[in-house]
């Protein structure tokens, strides 16, 4: 029965610090968010007024919220899908036996060291509607002048491309490590059995990579939902017409810019539920399907 014989208290003592942190910085604030989501704060925070489900009802009736929800989902799918595909291709190429493979690996990975703010400034300058170098190049080539200050599609693509680029180094890094761990004998055995390199990849390498892939999908989901914040704040501030105002950025804007704490709290509860579902699903699939036994 006793999992830790002779140590009845020590295990509890050891988890106490992290429990304290989790309770103080995660559980209690979350409880407050749930509480606040049923209230409206008067414009200057002097009083809370109970409004029942009004914050939730208005949220789901608001076209701005629904389009933010939809845009966040499209953005996440693109960041995860496009980002991971490119990363895997680059990782495969740089782990080939080519001259200077280590150089290419580092060249692709180092961008992760760049802060998202700097990356954001860089991308927004490259595509600045008036002075951007690529804006000019594209206008000269095609005659079409991109203005991401007004063009909602251009702004969305810009933010997506920049986000994929920011995460590229991190993803490649893990894929390279994962690929180096795929035992060479297995691939060799498969080719001796007559498998083409394409078949070797799909039947041997890709399944062996599944723990890495599952992990990266989770990390990129978290990135798309939460950490894209810094980049968006620098590049578009949620505009134009709130196209890039993804859920996390909308919570910030509503809560801290528009002084609508109650509405922001309701949104953060919904976002929590959403991410909890995604997280649970990923933990379930990654522990079930990943090939851990070598």
């Amino acid at each position: 029965m006793d999992r830790f014989p002779n140590h009845r208290i020590l295990p509890y003592g050891l988890v106490l610090p992290s429990l304290t942190v989790i309770i103080a910085f995660l559980i209690i604030p979350f409880g407050q968010a749930v509480y606040q989501s049923f209230y409206r704060v008067s414009p200057f925070g002097r009083q809370l007024r109970y409004v029942g489900l009004r914050n939730y009802l208005e949220m789901f009736q608001s076209p701005e919220y629904l389009s933010s929800f939809q845009n966040t989902l499209i953005f996440s799918v693109l960041v995860i899908g496009v980002g991971l595909t490119i990363s895997l291709v680059v990782a495969l190429l740089t782990t080939q036996k080519i001259r200077g493979a280590a150089f290419y690996q580092i060249a692709f990975i180092w961008t992760y060291a760049m802060s998202p703010i700097i990356a954001g400034v860089m991308w927004s300058l490259i595509f600045d509607p008036s002075i951007g170098i690529l804006t000019h190049a594209i206008a000269d080539l095609t005659g079409y002048r991109i203005n991401y200050f007004t063009d909602t599609v251009a702004a969305f693509i810009l933010v997506t491309v920049a986000s994929v680029w920011v995460m590229l180094g991190y993803n490649i890094c893990f894929f390279v490590a994962g690929l180096q761990n795929v035992p060479h004998e297995l691939k060799e055995a498969a080719s001796i059995d007559g498998a083409t390199s394409w078949q070797v990849f799909w039947v041997v390498t890709f399944p062996m990579l599944s723990p890495t892939t599952a992990f990266l999908i989770f990390v990129n989901t978290v990135y798309a939902f939460f950490q894209s914040f810094g980049l968006i704040d620098v590049v578009t501030q949620g505009g134009p017409n709130r196209t890039t105002e993804f859920l996390i950025y909308k919570i910030y804007r509503d809560g801290f810019g528009r002084m609508q704490e109650g509405q922001a709290a309701a949104q953060s509860v919904v976002l929590f539920i959403l991410v909890a579902i995604v997280g649970a699903f990923q933990i379930y699939t990654s522990t079930k399907k990943s090939v851990y036994n070598r």
């Binding site: 414009p43 925070g45 007024r49 509607p129 008036s130 200050f149 017409n241 810019g257 002084m259």
Partner: protein
């Protein structure tokens, strides 16, 4: 001398050495939250340093708190938990919110509370009008600005236009823009900073109210006064300018300055506070001139441009010692020398009439006529009426976001009336919420 005696003396000396720092501890320091970024930050810090050098017992500690919007939100969040600063710089958008907040001492009561007197008549009249409630100043005038039109005189010459005759109406702006584009001088002729503020300014310039209840100056407004015939006509020409590439939408705040400074566009509508930044960046590359903002037509009466920029508010929880420091600092800011220094290095108006006079006497406006444009524009405008004085809205910042939203749609070619109607509905909802939850 015995050992104990010696150590006793050393202790005394050490304690004595500590006394100066005890004296320093009696210094009253007041925190000052502001949002002055870029070249304005250096100028502000230098002003504060000059003040701090006068009396070591009275110190101001400036803290850059982020954007105006963040500064306002942080003040509102800090007050309930006793973390607010003595002085906070708030942009004009926050005026009504600060008045309603119950967190501040109205500026006119500061001298009274200290048993002193102060002549508020010394401040430039349009600024006083903007920040007054029932005839009394509620915030201390500091960095005021208004919008004006910057233009590239070299571009005008290249397109065969007369640089002495910049556009005075939107139709002229459109015609000149087309000429500039056809002459191959630019691909887009005009852009603007703060598009939402430009919309508000156009309303005020034509003596049109933004919202009901006397533009929010006679009570809490319940709805905006547009779309109207005026906004339809204004948006029609703005929409036409966007469609024919005369107007390129330039983002929310200062992004368009880069396009103007690098000679990509000919006309820039921007705050006067950008003047020194623009002049320094452009240097000798081309001739920068400034003029009044274009109007729609003389069919509408003349109003005035709006005051923008910011003013200073004082927390109502400061002690009398702190308030004395704050009052000294405010008096220092009202000094003509500081006013002229501030104006020359930032482009903001000096807040006092004496400051203006000093600038004129030393020949500054003859030397740099671009620094005179904004004054002439605002002083030549109408000085009475609610529309020209500027609107008061509780949820002003949020309302502004919806105005910008509509302008972004219009710049993209969406239906103008529908875009304004949608934003108007959203703002009316915000106004209703504000009035419902105001205690």
């Amino acid at each position: 001398m015995s050992r104990t005696k010696r150590s006793f003396i050393i202790t005394i000396v050490l304690v004595a050495l500590c006394i100066p720092s005890l004296a320093l501890a009696q210094t009253t320091t007041v925190e000052f939250w502001h949002s002055m970024t870029g070249s304005r930050l250096t100028v502000l810090n230098s002003v504060v340093e000059q003040f701090n050098a006068i009396n070591p017992a009275q110190q101001i500690s400036p803290v850059l708190i982020g954007t105006y919007e963040e500064g306002l939100t942080r003040f509102m969040a800090a007050y309930p938990v006793n973390q607010e600063p003595g002085i906070v710089q708030v942009y004009e958008v926050g005026t009504q919110a600060m008045h309603d907040s119950g967190m501040i001492i109205p500026a006119y009561q500061i001298p009274e509370r200290l048993g002193e007197e102060w002549d508020f008549g010394q401040y430039v009249a349009p600024i006083v009008r903007y920040y007054s409630k029932d005839g009394n100043l509620w915030s201390w005038p500091f960095a005021s600005s208004s919008a004006m039109l910057y233009y590239n005189a070299d571009h005008m010459r290249q397109a065969g236009l007369d640089p002495d005759k910049p556009p005075t109406t939107w139709q002229e702006m459109y015609d000149m823009g087309i000429k500039l584009i056809e002459a191959g001088v630019v691909t887009h002729a005009m852009s603007t900073g703060w598009p939402d503020w430009m919309f508000e300014t156009q309303l005020a310039m034509h003596d049109q109210e933004f919202a009901n209840m006397g533009n929010g100056r006679e009570g809490y407004p319940t709805e905006v006064s547009w779309p109207s015939k005026f906004t339809d006509e204004l948006m029609a020409i703005w929409g036409k300018m966007a469609a024919d590439n005369v107007w390129i939408y330039g983002g929310a705040e200062y992004n368009a300055n880069g396009a103007f400074n690098s000679g990509e566009i000919t006309f820039l509508m921007q705050s006067t506070s950008s003047l020194d930044g623009v002049l320094n960046t452009v240097g000798d590359n081309f001739e920068v001139r400034t003029t009044f903002l274009p109007r729609l037509s003389d069919e509408y009466p003349r109003g005035n441009v709006l005051i923008g920029g910011n003013s200073l508010y004082v927390s109502n929880r400061v002690t009398d010692e702190e308030l004395a420091v704050i009052f000294e600092f405010f008096k220092f800011l009202s000094d003509p020398d500081i006013g002229t220094y501030w104006h020359k290095n930032t482009g903001y108006f000096p807040a006092t009439n004496a400051g203006m006079q000093a600038l004129m006497n030393e020949g500054w406006f003859a030397e740099s006529p671009n620094h005179l444009t904004a004054f002439l524009q605002i002083l030549s405008g109408k000085s009475e009426g609610n529309a020209a004085a500027g609107m008061r809205l509780g949820p002003f910042a949020q309302a502004r976001e919806w105005v910008r939203d509509a302008l972004e749609r219009i710049a993209r070619g969406d239906d103008q009336r529908a875009a304004l109607e949608y934003s108007a509905r959203q703002i009316n909802q915000l106004l209703a919420d504000y009035n419902e939850f105001l205690d």
